[in-house]
Symmetry: C2
């Protein structure tokens, strides 16, 4: 026997009904963030649908970021991550801080600047420096001859309270920074004062910063690396820093999970 059950006047059936039902239970507070979900078989019994149907509903709710859990393991109600705000006012602050003495600069490193979080939230940081050719689109921004190499600085961070991870990849033309050996050694991270101060040590002053924002679904690797649940988009922020002599001096790629990010840009206008 095969009963379909669609078409009743009381509402949607099957996976979409179950989905709404579970969502409502969460909204109602019957299921609280962090709670373990009943097993699929149990839900199938309780809601009088096939186990297969339950599986699809759960899968959809995982995609929507409402539930989490590994395949084969139990399922939880997901703790909604807090949104972290990243404001372009930071760029002004960072530049002002460069000329301060070191002990006043020491509050934030490169990554704080890029990802937008305070250094106090940190659990574990990994810095990695190397010399590479770099991707073509980055080379095109620098307008570099083929012979020139780029200093690539990658940064990974794991947060407290299983709130996920973040990271960034930054490129600087090697020729700009090879005068200061300190800049080529990842052991100096976090650098007091951030990238703008690093560039200052080789005589570069920034004129303006371009932020380019594009939203895409993360690759499978990024999903794993950044602890992004299925279905959550990724904000790709590419920050390009321009020096006062009109050249691009740093390109920084910063992936930001969309469910825990808020971007704010203030554009001051000239007076009439």
């Amino acid at each position: 026997m095969s009963e379909k059950g669609a078409g009743s006047a009381t509402g949607p059936y099957g996976a979409s009904r179950l989905e709404a039902e579970i969502q409502a239970a969460i909204d109602r507070g019957d299921l609280r963030p962090g709670d373990q979900m009943p097993t699929t078989s149990e839900l199938a019994d309780r809601y009088a649908v096939n186990k297969n149907t339950v599986s699809r509903a759960i899968s959809a709710l995982k995609a929507a970021g409402v539930l989490t859990g590994p395949a084969g393991g139990r399922t939880w109600v997901r703790v909604r991550p807090q949104r972290i705000t990243r404001h372009n006012v930071r760029y002004h602050r960072e530049k002002e801080r460069v000329l301060l003495p070191e002990h006043e600069r020491a509050q934030d490193g490169v990554a704080e600047t890029d990802t937008g979080m305070s250094i106090r939230d940190v659990y574990e940081d990994t810095y990695c420096y190397d010399l590479v050719a770099g991707p073509d689109d980055v080379r095109a921004i620098f307008e570099l001859p083929d012979s020139e190499q780029l200093l690539r600085r990658t940064h990974q961070r794991r947060h407290a309270a299983r709130a996920g991870a973040s990271g960034s990849t930054s490129y600087i033309p090697y020729i700009l920074v090879n005068r200061n050996p300190d800049l080529l050694d990842s052991d100096h991270e976090p650098w007091p004062g951030g990238t703008m101060h690093q560039l200052h040590t080789v005589g570069i002053e920034l004129d303006h910063i371009d932020d380019r924002i594009v939203v895409e679904m993360p690759t499978r690797e990024e999903q794993q690396l950044l602890d992004i649940p299925t279905g959550v988009p990724l904000i790709r922020l590419r920050k390009v820093s321009w020096s006062t002599d009109g050249r691009a001096v740093e390109v920084s790629d910063i992936p930001l999970p969309a469910d825990r990010t808020e971007l704010i840009y203030t554009t001051p206008l000239d007076r009439w």
Copy 2:
């Protein structure tokens, strides 16, 4: 008999294999954007899988924005929408233009400013003005007493070449604009010079603009209204305009489908 088929060393099977297979056919050029897909039964035969499995693969590719088509109708390879760039330099340009004579201002209306597209791409515009209480979060920005109303201006637009639609909702405190009756009549849209010129007619000059960017999945209604394929995120841009006397004078909510939007923000830095 029930054959499962997972676990072979030659690669993934079932829905995910089919998905990759179809994606590859598109990348290879065997299937071109705009082409009609074979029917699910035909694909099931060709790839030796169940019709059900085909359906799930197709569904996933629709979610990924690779395929389109209505339920019950045929399925096509989706024409990838072009990314439209929205640069905050526009705010400076708009302010400069306000003081120009009307025939020079007439190139762009309010909506061009908000959505970031040229007036030449337009097919059909719908403007709607009304007086409302407005959402609480908007009222909080204006810091308005309960008695004050807001002028809400909604705008909908359908584009050429089935590239989708766009829209925006703008709020202005009624008390700021009721001196100029032209501002309360949607028949004057598109207003030459945009919102900044409208505010100029009631003696308001803008000091700065805050753009707040958040990314979420669209609601079902927005998905329909903006012609967004399943699975494509929505960039919610909230633009808040601040006058030279320090008050918020306009709040604009602009939903931008993430697959056809690129945002660029330039932050100029003061010299040392």
